[in-house]
Structure formats: C-alpha cells, structure tokens
Symmetry: none
Subunit: 425 residues, 2 copies
C-alpha cells in the first residue's frame, strides 16, 4: 500500500506560502490507518509535475494539490490528462456549477473560468462546494499484479475548498477502495519541564517489551515542551498503546500535562472553570503572552478576570503595590518582587489565584548575577505565595514562549492540587 | 543548478507537525537567487531517507533536515554516512560543546547526547548555537561533468537551531560554491486595510509597462494584511523593482506600513522610541495580544509602560475607571467604553498615548445588534480621544489577530502624524 502527495505551485518553491496541505492530508490519512510514504512539492511548470507523477509510479494512491484554477499558470489538469493519454471534454454540470457560483455572488463570470469545466475522459468529478474548480479522480495504470487499484486524485489548492472536498467526497472513495486497512493507533502525550533525552532515560527500558511487540515511540521537542508519541498497527494496536501510556504516566507523572491536541492553556481554563476558580495575571517580561494564550481558549472570561502588564517599575508599584524598597533592594527580576506582584494582582482583582512573572528577555539588560534568560515567577492563592526561578537563555520570542509555558505549568500544578484536595477551602 | 530539500520525520508523515522548514528554506534560497527544484518529506526510517537522497542525484545541493537528535529515532546521521561510505568518529569539539551546553544550564548531560558528536569522516561541522546537534556538510559524488560541486548539508530539526545555523554558516558556503548566480531581486510591500483585489485595481495598470519588461507581481493575502511582492531577474532587476515600488507608494500611500520582513509592531516601537513617546494599552477581547506583539520587539520597554487586560466589567471599572453607567447604557463593546478605557489607561500610566480595544471574539456572546466579530477600538493622547468600529467575523484566534492588527495600525497612523507634525507639543 503506497500513498504519495504531490503539492504544486511556484509560490511553494519561492517560499512565499506555507504548505499546510501536507500536515492536514497526512493527518487525515493516518486517522484512516493509512501512512503517506512520500510528499513532494514542485513548481507548477509542466515538466516538474509530470516528472513527480512518473517518479511515484507504481503507486496505489496519489493526491495532487493545486493548479486547477482559471489562470494561465494553472496547468495541472491538462498535464495529467496528457500524461495518462486522456482527451479533455467540457462537462456541462461543472459549467452549470461555475455559472451558479458567480450568479449567487451577483458577479459576472470571467470567460477564463470556463476552462475549469474541462474534464479528462473517464474521470470522476468531485464537486467544489466552496469554489469553482472541481476535483478529479482518475484511474492509474499500476503493476500487472494489482490491476485497477491505482488512483490519482486532483484537488484544488485553497484549503477551504480542499478540506471539505476531501472529507466529504475523497474519504468515502478511499474507504471503498481500501477496505482491509490495518488498524492504526496513535497517542501523543504532551510533557513539559523535561528534555527529550531525560524522558527517554525514564521510560525506554520499561517500554522495551512493548517495542518488541510492535510499539513505535517518537519524541518531538517543541518550544517549552516535548511530545511523546506512541503508534502501533494491527489488531493489538490499541492494547499496546494503552499499556505504553500507563507506563509513561507511572514514570513521568504530572510532567504529562495533556494528550493529543490539548494545550496547557486549555487545560488550565477547563480545570479552573470546573472548579469555579478565578485568576489574575501579572506579567512583566512575557509582556501579555500568558494572558493572550489563556484568552485563546473559548470561555476564558469565566476564569481570567484581569491581567496587568507591568513592564515598568512604576507600573509594578502603581498597579500592583510592589514596594519601592523591594525593587531597590532586590531588583525587578527577583523572588521578592514576583511574590509581591502575585499578591498584589490577586488582591487588586479579588481572584482565587494570581500568577506573576518577571525576567530578562534580552537581548539587552543582562548582568553578571542575572544574565539574559533569568526569570522569576510567582503564584498566590488564599493560603500561600510561592516562587520559582528558571533560566531560559534563548532569543527573545523563544524566551517569552518558554517562560509563558513555565508560568502556565506552575499554575496548572497548583490548580490540579487544589482541585484534587478534599473540600477544605 | 539543481537544489533539493529533504525533510525527514515520522511526525511529518503522520501529520502531527507542520513543516515550516520548506517555506523558510525556499524563501532564504530564493533571496539568494536560487530556486529549489523539489522538496520531499519522508519518514525517518532507514530506507526512505536513503532512497530520497538517491532519487535526488545527480544534484548540486541537498539540504536534509531532522533526525540529528539524541533519541533512538534520530537516524539521519548514521544512514547518510553509510550511504556515502563514510565511517563515523567522535569529534572532540562537539563533545566539548554539548558538555558546555548542559553545564551552562546546570543540568546533567544524559549519556545518549554523546551520539550527537559522531561525525562522518571528511564532514565539515556546523556548530549549533542553540542546541546540541551540530550540522554537517558532506561532499557528494555528482556527474563526471561537474566533479566536486555536489554538496549535502544536514541540519537539525528544531527551527530555532536550524535558522541561525543556516543564516550564519550555510549561506556563506552557498555563496562561495555558487558565485555566478543570476541577480534576483525581490521586494515585499506590506499593506493593511485594503483587500488584494482593491490593491490590484489601484496599481495594475500603472505597473503594466514594467511587467512587459520582466517585472513579476505577486499578491498574498495574509491575516489582517496583504503582501504585495515585486520580483525580477537579471541586470535590470533592481531598477525595475525600485520603479515599481515608487508607483506603489504613490497609489497606496500610508496603506503600506513597511517592507520585506518588517512588522507593524516594530514600526510602532521604532517610531515611538525615536520620538520619545510612551504608551499604555487597555485590552479586553484581544486578551494581551497587542501587548504581546509590542513586547516581542527588543527595546519595547522604552515605550510600553503598562498594559491592562480588563477582561471583566469589574476590572474595566476598577483598573481603568470606566463608569458603571457607561457600561450599563452602552455595553462593554461600545464607542463610549473604549474611549473611557483609553483615557483611563493613559491617566493611570501617565503616558503620551493609550489605545484600547473591546469586542466579541466568540464563539459565544454575540447579539443581534452586536454579532460575534464586532469590535471597537480607541486611542487617547494629550489632545483627543478617537474611536473606530470594525467587524471581523472570523474564528476566535483570527479575530484576535485581525483586531490587534487594527489597533496597532490605528496607533501607527496617529503616531506617524504626531511625529511628522511641526514641533508644537
């Protein structure tokens, strides 16, 4: 079973646009139990597209994206028809669809659009609910041992046209053509606070028996976190993954903050919402990023009452009540200041929790005792204030992202502890 | 001249991660006058990587990303060495670098990390300023007609390691190896506030003579902005682009906020710093994103004194002095409230300027009169307060991004007007 994706477009090869099709299509196919063997991006000129299809043969399924539009640089349809020795004809249902598309928008249909109704003989037409260019399904010559299995599907380039077309029309075709797909399981555990080599040290030996039975382990270091991925195939896939997940939780405990597509801010908002806990945030070096991440979560307003971006010492004093002598004695990046910031934010906003962060993002501002990358963060609730120091010697934007992750993780662990404690408030 | 990019990783083929390397590397190479012929993504298992390199030959330059880390699924280094018939040895300077990397972070070096010091014989080592895995440059066998030209460069997967390594170490190698590149010029004008078809209507006719001489025009609609791109090749490239740029500025005026990789927040911080102007920000629906974007700019602390994330009505009253009757009469998303927010933030922080924003990000919270996507923003300086209403009916994160762009553009235009006014303060 061999699947390839071919993405076409000059803008891809000039680096003017991010190719989001690869991830999206690979993910959809993986969820169907199918793995893409290779993805290729080429210029939309003739030779490159045709060569890419030739290189892929023999193949069970090729998905080609882009080059179906109305302008002169959209050549995929014609080139593929030529390569497969098919003549083109005008499909009257596609003409009617394009005319209706423009009529609904009260716009004149440019003559050039009619070229999109040209269909290679024998092709199946996939209607486009969000645009004018239809998708096309063509049979491919494959090896004599697998006659009639190969399939080439042309999809339009714009994601909002491609995605529903794939989900609604291509997935049923794939399911029908490849009925005996092997069960594929994939589970991602999202961790923070440990490096990937440390994680491997902690879990590898215990997982070894499962690996011998077919479990695959992947490690992916992202900014401020490491993703640990378990995949397996076949009838025992789910069992192997469940078992691996259990071992990982035993070894890594609360270093795992979530699974699959969860992010730490969603988990914080969800846990605090469920426990009716409110939050205030006082940020210096992260400059609003902690609040920004939290407010990306729908429903954040039930939790986050106020944020204070106290970038200057003056604002730390005026807004949060940090004492001038604390700033003078310890400096703005210090345990004493983040504790006063957290307590001040909590008092001002009248919330259950407050977190605070102050550090040196750089590139300037570092000293011998407090080099660029130094960051203090604090947390206050009704019973206590706590602080922790981290060191993130990275570029400015990475520093902010890692520091925001550490603040959210500090909050997550305290909120979880509170949520799991007996009802004593 | 043939260049290929090979991106490796199971997480790519399973669709768990977006491949940002393709765009970034293609863009950097295009700026050097080099076009990538093909980009391929494959699984990080042995046969696929080796096959991808074989398929690329003969070739002048191959860039391979990923698979240089310390974990068991990082196999690129060994596989490529095998393919090229090179033995590996431990490079003592790389060992020293890895040890120093962990020592600087006061962390123990896991034994597994040492594998990253394995270097194929004859390879040039590229030091990694932001991680442990070095890059590697290897000579390739190419066609007999072009001996010694081929070059394979292995780069680490994490973008914050790959990007500076490419810019600082790979670009000089490429320039030396390929000295006779055709002049390639590319200029991007960044606009906000106009759609791409409106921009085309305004400029296309005037640019037509330049297009006949070889100018290429590209339009790229991004979130909250449109990039207008001029490219040309050959000895007249720069002249054509300069001429096109002059015409674009005449037609689009202050709708162009910057060029190439400038962003609007950098321009705001730079202009305000030069004019010694200070700023406070009051955010509701954008939840910290305006402050986050401004504080991504090094030196932002000279301008931004305080930010107030007043997500709740209580915080709007308590922190910014918005009157309860204004909230009751007009609602939190209204002209009256953003004017009071801006004035309140400016008074509280004692700054020259303040901006404010309040809107309905959704998915919930819309009404018939104020549907999801409605947003008001305000600005206050010593002489006036102004407000504007926008409508951004998008998903939550897009809404926040577009609204933050509109706030920053409102500020940019007022700051520019102030900066260009006669010295009357």
């Amino acid at each position: 079973m061999k699947i390839e994706i071919i993405n076409t477009g000059a803008e891809l090869m000039l680096g003017r646009i991010l190719n989001s099709h690869q991830q999206w299509l690979c993910r959809q196919l993986a969820d169907l139990g199918l793995t893409v063997a290779r993805q290729v991006a080429v210029d939309d000129s003739g030779p490159a597209i045709v060569q890419a299809v030739r290189d892929a043969l023999p193949v069970d399924l090729i998905l080609v994206t882009g080059g179906l539009g109305p302008t002169s640089d959209d050549r995929t349809r014609t080139l593929i028809a030529e390569l497969l020795g098919r003549k083109l004809h005008e499909d009257s249902s596609v003409v009617a669809h394009i005319e209706a598309f423009f009529a609904a928008r009260k716009k004149r249909m440019p003559t050039s659009c009619r070229v999109q109704a040209q269909v290679p003989n024998g092709a199946l037409v996939l209607s486009n609910a969000h645009g004018t260019a239809p998708g096309l399904v063509l049979e491919l010559p494959v090896g004599a041992d697998r006659p009639g299995l190969g399939c080439l599907i042309l999809l339009p380039g714009p994601p909002r046209e491609l995605r529903p077309m794939f989900t609604n029309q291509v997935v049923p075709i794939i399911k029908e053509r490849f009925p005996n797909r092997e069960r594929f399981g994939c589970r991602t555990l999202k961790t923070t606070g440990l490096g990937e080599s440390v994680i491997e040290e902690k879990i590898a030996a215990s997982l070894e028996p499962l690996v011998r039975e077919g479990l695959e382990i992947g490690y992916c270091a992202r900014i401020g976190e490491v993703e640990l991925r378990f995949t397996a195939r076949g009838t025992r896939a789910d069992e192997l993954i469940r078992h691996a997940e259990k071992i990982a939780y035993e070894k890594l405990r609360d270093r795992i903050y979530g699974t699959d597509d969860e992010d730490i801010e969603s988990i914080v908002i969800r846990t605090m919402t469920e426990n009716r806990l409110s939050l205030a945030v006082a940020e210096s070096c992260t400059g609003g990023l902690v609040c920004h991440r939290l407010t990306n979560v729908p429903g954040a307003s039930a939790v986050l009452k106020a944020g204070y971006i106290t970038y200057s010492n003056g604002a730390k004093q005026e807004t949060l009540g940090v004492r001038p002598e604390t700033l003078a004695t310890h400096g703005a990046v210090s345990e004493a200041v983040v504790l006063e910031m957290a307590a001040g934010a909590r008092a001002r906003a009248g919330t259950d929790f407050a977190v605070s962060v102050s550090g040196i993002a750089g590139p300037a501002g570092g000293t011998r005792d407090k080099p660029v990358g130094t960051v203090w963060m604090g947390l206050a609730d009704a019973e206590k204030t706590v602080a922790q120091r981290c060191f993130n010697p990275y570029d400015r934007e990475t520093f902010k992202l890692v520091a925001s992750q550490q603040v959210l993780d500090l909050l997550r662990r305290h909120v979880l502890a509170r949520a799991m404690a007996p009802a004593a408030q």
